[in-house]
């Protein structure tokens, strides 16, 4: 929902704290209630209706403090009722109708207000109802996670007062008794309506005990509730003077027996509203991503009125509330600071809150209860001035960015008013970019449009994602990069996630240990979602099984799509075949072994010295790299790093993770070289701090310097997509296996073959293309070209001189294997060897005929620390039919 004239308000309260050292049934400490609340709160953020205030954020402070940010208006019914406006029946009916619509909407999303009062019925600048604070009952799990009661006594219906405080089953986190349902709010609405009619407050100044007694009196069989309340409010006659419809409505609201009391869904159809010609305005058909419905179906465009024209100057108000709040925080918004300023948080010297006595068992005595810990429902306004100030210089046009404007496409990012080119900001480190309000503003505007244009804007999203991904839209951008499409919700709903399966125990023990430092993922809500998503994947992929590590893999998607399990599931479902094809087979060992063998080749190709050292001490990838690749590094890095790593990973092809692996080793190059086996393995058993941005940069560079066929894997996904629709032709994201193979392509090798060779093989296609023997157009794995047109490779022919003379690859040098090495293992000097030694940075392709000479020669080169050594798959014979072989010029 757009910001409009809404303001942001923050309120704060404390979650109930657990007693010291108390442990749950599993021996683990109890999850703090504040974490549980944060978990449950997330659902509230999804509620979006024109008669409720949008929830924006829930932040944990110190000592179980929570800060809740919600859309806010300073006017509310408590202030507005004295004007007498609502004593008019028309206005009252309209008010009731709007409240009911808000209640009905939240009920549809499994939320009961349970806290309805005059304070919580806000009135926006046009006097429309906006229900506020309706999430307290929901987020605290019926009040179980806080030490204060939720709701005002005088508006509580008899059954709520009878049921007493909520009790929670510690194992299941579910209330022992069913929580209050929608009908309790209807009672409160009835009370409020009578107050408005009478112009008086019900039981003002009466103690809570007395109120409870008064309400319980209503339970007597012959009690006339309306009459006794009206008598109390002195409005018996007033009510009688009003229409019979309104009388009926109030009587229905104040039905004592909840089974006979209607709920909001029924009451919105009350004839009182028909008489007053009030209809529900169906919310505008907002466009939703990932649906099979036509996006233009039933689309209602708002009519442009004169008011709108006036509003036009405030461009920020057109933006989505969540976006504005996100920018507000970037512009220096500080919740705790605002609350401190308002006196809602007072810092006390710790010495004043020490207990007088602490017993052995941790029990404390004489610790006065801090007044600050009591519930104060005050909402403090969050001023938008600072944000507006920061954005004040931004050109109006930037709010309505044109995607198809060619000038912006060629120029890249627009320049900002402060005359700092945003392209400069774009090249700054991520941590800075992500905190730069102006930069994020432009990114958010752009991406919001691109995402709404998905999948048609897929290519453009790919292009922008190579610059960076704004945190606000990361989940959707990732989904776009993974090419998630279709009605994902229906797909997800159709999967049975409840029936017990054999993997349940494993999932149940893994989830409580997976990224639990992350406050969202640590909540019981998260655990339940986590379990469902994992089960959904296991159940719908019978060819695969659950391997430990799948949980880590799933965590980033769940954390980003906390309120959209279906999308989290769709992402993991798309991610696994792309990067971890067959990794989750029951017998995945051939797949992983091949992957690791190729990884070893890649290390030898780029870091031969390191490769020789590590192999020498027995520090092989099998010992450290399995958790890297099986979880795409999600097991070894914290989530805040994973998201940045995956921002790039998702742009790469299925081999890209291998390059990240090499880049990580490269970063520890010197240390690893000086380490023995134990130090090496200890280094990686607890992943040391690495410069991730450097790592990503290196990975891309390494990728560009490697022929694509060098990472060929027979277990990688083979079948090219039918009717290729991918618009992106990004060099980085294309897979070797995407195009059909021919006789010049790579072919499957056995594991023994792979292991017997130290360096990768490349295909004849790559050789032809890198050597520029044929044009680019015919190859299926184009290689990044260098600008200067210098050769990219040196072909070393290791056949005997006679064979070489009968047909050789143009430009190749001949170093016959038989005479190449001295008894000490060094290369025997000759002109060809000199050329080799001068070609340090070139890709060295060793070519032989059948037999193992070429690979043995290449192994020797690796041993001598030559970089970028590879062999030609199938040797010289594969080139016979290409017509490129020639006879060397006669020696002069």
């Amino acid at each position: 929902m757009a910001l409009g004239k809404a303001q942001f308000g923050v309120s704060t309260f404390f979650a109930a704290s657990h007693s010291n050292d108390k442990c749950g049934a599993n021996g683990l400490p109890l999850t703090p209630n504040s974490i549980k609340i944060v978990g449950r709160f997330q659902h509230l953020k999804t509620l979006d209706h024109h008669h409720i205030c949008k929830y924006l954020d829930c932040v944990r402070g110190r000592h179980e403090r929570l800060m809740i940010v919600q859309e806010h208006y300073t006017n509310n019914l408590n202030l507005g009722w004295k004007t007498g406006k609502f004593q008019s029946e028309d206005n009252l009916v309209k008010l009731a109708f709007e409240v009911l619509q808000g209640l009905y909407y939240m009920n549809q999303h499994e939320v009961t207000h349970r806290n309805l009062s005059m304070d919580n019925i806000l009135l926006d600048t046009e006097g429309k109802v906006k229900l506020s604070n309706f999430g307290m009952y929901y987020m605290t799990n019926g009040g179980a996670y806080v030490s204060f009661p939720v709701g005002q006594m005088c508006y509580m219906c008899p059954e709520v007062i009878c049921s007493g405080p909520v009790q929670i089953d510690e194992e299941t986190e579910l209330p022992v008794l069913p929580p209050s349902g929608p009908k309790v709010d209807v009672w409160s609405l009835g009370c409020i309506a009578l107050e408005l009619i009478s112009g008086m407050k019900l039981w003002e100044g009466v103690s809570n005990q007395q109120i409870a007694r008064n309400v319980l009196v209503f339970l007597k069989p012959d009690c006339d509730v309306i009459n006794s309340i009206c008598t109390e409010l002195k409005c018996v006659e007033k009510l009688q003077s009003l229409s019979p419809y309104l009388n009926d409505f109030i009587r229905k609201c104040l039905t004592v027996d909840p089974t006979h009391r209607p709920d909001p869904s029924e009451l919105v159809h009350h004839e009182m509203f028909t008489v007053h010609k009030l209809k529900q305005v169906s919310p505008r058909n907002g466009y939703h991503l990932f649906t099979s419905k036509l996006r233009c179906k039933d689309l209602e465009l708002p009519e442009l009125t004169e008011n709108d024209v006036e509003l036009d100057n405030d461009h920020l108000s057109e933006r989505n509330m969540e976006e504005v709040y996100y920018l507000w925080r970037l512009a220096g918004g500080d919740l705790e600071g605002v609350l401190k300023k308002a006196g809602m948080i007072k810092a006390k010297p710790p010495v004043t809150i020490l207990p007088s006595l602490t017993l052995d068992n941790g029990e404390v005595l004489g610790q006065g209860r801090d007044q600050m810990e009591l519930l104060d429902e005050t909402v403090v306004l969050l001023s938008q001035d600072q944000l507006r100030q920061r954005l004040s210089d931004i050109d109006e046009k930037s709010y309505y960015k044109l995607l198809e404007d060619e000038s912006t496409i060629t120029e890249g990012l627009p320049s900002s008013p402060s005359n700092v080119d945003l392209n400069d900001t774009a090249s700054l480190p991520l941590v800075i970019k992500e905190k730069d309000v102006e930069y994020q503003f432009h990114r958010v505007i752009l991406y919001e449009r691109l995402i709404n244009g998905y999948p048609y804007k897929k290519a453009h999203i790919w292009k922008e994602a190579r610059v960076d991904v704004p945190p606000l839209f990361r989940n959707l951008v990732w989904a776009a990069l993974l090419e998630v499409e279709g009605d994902i919700q229906a797909q997800y709903d159709s999967i049975d996630k409840e029936t017990p399966i054999g993997t349940d125990r494993q999932i149940a023990v893994d989830i409580p240990r997976c990224h639990q430092y992350h406050e969202l993922l640590a909540s019981p809500t998260a655990h339940a979602k986590f379990k469902r998503v994992l089960k959904a994947w296991v159940v719908s992929h019978p060819e695969y099984v659950y391997w430990q590590g799948l949980d880590s893999l799933c965590a980033p998607f769940l954390a980003l799509n906390f309120n959209n399990e279906a999308l989290a599931y769709a992402c993991i479902k798309a991610f696994i075949p792309k990067y971890l094809h067959k990794f989750f087979l029951k017998d995945n060992s051939p797949v992983i072994q091949e992957y690791l063998a190729v990884f070893s080749h890649l290390i030898a190709f780029h870091e031969p010295e390191l490769s020789n050292h590590m192999e020498g001490i027995g520090f092989i990838p099998d010992l450290y790299a399995i958790p890297w690749f099986l979880t795409m590094f999600a097991h070894v890095f914290p989530l805040n790093k994973i998201v940045h790593l995956w921002d790039t990973l998702l742009l790469g092809n299925s081999s890209f993770p291998l390059y990240i692996g090499v880049a990580i080793l490269k970063q520890f190059h010197d240390r690893l070289l000086s380490f023995g086996f134990n130090e090496c393995i200890l280094l990686f058993s607890d992943m040391p701090v690495i410069d991730l941005q450097q790592c990503v940069k290196d990975a891309i560079q390494i990728f560009c310097n490697t022929p694509k066929s060098a990472t060929y894997r027979q277990h990688a996904k083979q079948t090219p997509k039918k009717n290729e629709t991918r618009p992106n032709v990004s060099y980085y994201s294309r897979d070797y296996n995407e195009k059909p193979s021919n006789e010049l392509s790579m072919e499957p090798l056995t594991l023994d073959e792979l292991r017997s060779e130290k360096c990768p093989r490349i295909s004849a296609e790559d050789l032809l293309e890198l050597g520029e023997f044929i044009g680019n157009a015919n190859t299926r794995s184009p290689t990044k070209k260098r600008g200067n047109g210098k050769p990219l490779l040196l072909v070393i022919d290791v056949r005997g001189p006679d064979e070489f003379k009968r047909g050789m690859i143009p430009g190749s040098v001949n170093i016959p294997f038989q005479s190449a090495f001295s008894p000490e293992g060094d290369l025997v000097t000759c002109p060809a060897v000199t050329t080799l030694k001068q070609s340090k940075s070139l890709v060295k392709v060793v070519v032989g005929s059948r037999g193992r000479n070429a690979s043995n020669f290449a192994n020797e080169l690796v041993r001598l620390d030559y970089t970028r050594v590879c062999t030609l798959h199938n040797g010289i014979d594969v080139l016979r039919h290409t017509g490129i072989l020639s006879v060397p010029p006669p020696e002069i």
Partner: protein
């Protein structure tokens, strides 16, 4: 943690032998293998210890009279599926700790399976210890002490109930293993490095004995 001071004594101390042993931890997942190692090696306990994928490696040194014993500890993944990797780690190990969770009978059954496999396939002189972990949760106990002790005696295993959380018996079990290990000259050699490509079905691969290479 009396020996932790001793652990910092330089390896090259002149007063005694230095022996190096390879030790492997096996057991069902979430019984506390990694937590035991972490408690032993770093004296720490993480409530939400992450699951182990593949295996983790740590070392710790303890002093026994005049001998310095250095453990090279391989902490393996517990999930049944990772079973195929296990021989790579227990092959050539001189000691193993098989861990179960005293609050879960199934994990004890799994521990017995591990013991059998070790007796069949690991080196014949391997010292096996059985650890009933999570002893701090004795009110939830499902595996009786006597039952496990009886089983350990029948199979000549070292046995202790441990708690990585309270540190109960953690150092003791490693010390008990250190005492039982032969500290002949051959014990001074490092354990065999894990090798890739071990085939699960190769029955007698590991039975060649302790220290080779």
């Amino acid at each position: 943690m009396s020996q932790r001071g001793g652990a910092q004594r330089p390896n090259g101390a002149a007063q005694g032998k230095i022996c190096q042993f390879k030790l492997v931890l096996l057991g069902e997942s979430a019984v506390g293998k990694s937590s035991l190692v972490l408690r032993f090696v770093k004296g720490q306990f993480h409530e939400y210890q992450e699951s182990t994928i593949g295996a983790a490696f740590l070392t710790q040194t303890v002093c026994l009279d005049d001998t310095t014993v250095k453990f090279e500890i391989w902490d393996t993944a517990g999930q049944e599926r990772y079973h195929s990797l296990a021989p790579m780690y227990y092959r050539g190990a001189q000691a193993a700790i098989v861990v179960y969770d005293i609050t879960n009978q199934d994990t004890f059954g799994r521990a017995k399976t591990w013991v059998k496999e070790l007796q069949r396939q690991a080196s014949p002189n391997i010292v096996i210890a059985l650890a009933g972990n999570k002893a701090d949760l004795s009110n939830k106990r499902m595996v009786e002490y006597e039952e496990a002790q009886g089983y350990a005696e029948e199979n000549s295993l070292l046995f202790m109930e441990t708690s990585a959380k309270t540190a109960m018996n953690v150092n003791d079990i490693f010390l008990a293993i250190a005492k039982k290990l032969p500290k002949s000259d051959s014990g001074g050699q490092s354990g065999q490095r894990p090798q890739p490509g071990v085939r699960l079905n190769e029955q007698n691969q590991a039975s060649e004995g302790g220290c080779c290479k």
